[in-house]
Amino acid sequence: MERTTIDLWVGIFVAAGVAALMGLAMKVGNLTTSGIGDTYTVTAAFENIGGLKARAPVKSAGVVVGRVDGIQFDDKTYEAIVTLKVDKRYEFPKDTFASIYTSGLLGEQYVGLDAGGDSVALKNNDKIAHTQDAVVLEKMISQFLYNKASETGDAKSGDKKQAEEK
């Protein structure tokens, strides 16, 4: 079979297509960033995880140290069990605090790890004891309104008392 310039152009075309797909995967997508390498698994129980999703980042001091692997519901304790995969390079003390934060005001939710002072490090399949739930905006607003209402209520009853005294 004789080779023609058409073959060459088609070869270049296909190679460029594969290169573009690789470029998309590596440069645009998260194929390179999601592979953290070796990890160990820890779990944490939260009463409310808000909008946390699987594959959300796990950060400590703002640095991504792992990813959320899965979220299950425990119907014994009625808590959410969040499985975290943490990079093997980083060790955290046993009394590490896991909290759910929101990046920005309305951004994505992530798990933040705040290291404690224990000398024993977290091991594979350990459970983080200290957790802090996600902030639910509706709860906060209703609490704020409730406080505000009770404040103004106090003020009003105070006015009445003053009027009666007069």
């Binding site: 079979m1 058409i6 073959d7 152009w9 088609v10 270049i12 075309f13 296909v14 460029a16 297509g17 594969v18 573009a20 797909l21 470029g23 998309l24 995967a25 440069k27 645009v28 997508g29 998260n30 194929l31 390179t32 960033t33 999601s34 594959r55």
Partner: protein, 263 residues
């Protein structure tokens, strides 16, 4: 009055029956194309030749439009995003809209206009000049020799073109966002990488472009093969290729997206 009504009903009925004939013919045609595919896959140089004509020759229009689409996306996105103080997210906007939607869809529309019409006109003219009948006389199946290689060439070219479109579009958006507007270089790429998922976004876009490739190429082939063997017939078939392909791409895009986005 009654006569008019009967005529109207007859017209509707005739047209419906005509559509059914064509639908049946299209189904039979697709079946034959798949049956004879094995024969044409054993002669890959035929497919390579067609990849050259449908894929390589479409490169220029695809790349240039991708570049401009990317640049316009970045300009427009910046205009709105900076109102919310999040102009760093422009990379995410450009990449996600290109990889998920614009890449596959615009490529398919351009492909239908650039390569689909060429396929229809070529096969329609082959039929009008009785080249297809001549092949049959020589016991060469025109579907195996003419149709199937073009089908596979279209199916192969389309995802490649769509990937190139997305990549070029992202580069165009980068050129406008970073050197021209002055968005931070690191923020542009890192926010993009944080938000674009390989499986959810890139692979889904790739699947879309494969489906569009099958649809566009098949419509172009069938319209050409089914065209009345006259100059007018070929011209009408070419027009129909563009119209039906575009509508099919947009309709399929909605169906595919609704499947892919549902959790």
């Amino acid at each position: 009055m009654l006569e008019r009504l009967t005529k109207l009903l007859q017209g509707i009925g005739n047209r419906t029956i005509e559509r059914m004939w064509r639908l049946g013919a299209a189904a039979r045609f697709s079946f034959y194309t798949l049956v004879y595919s094995g024969e044409s896959l054993r002669r890959p140089w035929l497919i390579v030749r067609e990849v050259y004509f449908t894929g390589v020759m479409s490169l220029i229009i695809i790349l240039v439009s991708a570049f401009f689409v990317g640049m316009v996306l970045a300009l427009q996105g910046y205009n709105t995003l900076q109102k919310y103080g999040s102009s760093d997210a422009i990379g995410v906007l450009v990449a996600l809209s290109l990889v998920r939607e614009l890449g596959p869809v615009v490529t398919a529309l351009l492909f239908a206009g650039r390569a689909g019409t060429a396929i229809t006109a070529e096969i329609g003219l082959m039929k009008a000049t009785e080249q297809l009948s001549a092949m049959e006389m020589m016991a060469v199946s025109p579907i195996a020799r003419v149709v199937a290689p073009r089908f596979w060439a279209g199916v192969i070219s389309m995802p490649i073109l769509a990937s190139l479109f997305s990549m070029t579009g992202v580069l165009g958006g980068y050129l406008v966002a970073v050197p021209l507007i002055g968005v931070d270089d690191g923020a542009f790429w890192s926010q993009m990488q944080a938000s674009v998922d390989f499986r959810e976004d890139i692979v889904n876009g790739f699947i879309k472009s494969c489906v569009f490739g099958v649809a566009c190429t098949f419509i172009a082939l069938f319209e050409g093969y089914d065209a009345p063997p006259t100059a007018e017939g070929v011209s009408r078939a070419t027009t129909r290729t563009v119209v039906i392909s575009s509508l099919a791409v947009l309709g399929l895009d909605f169906v595919l997206t609704s499947f892919m986005l549902s959790p």
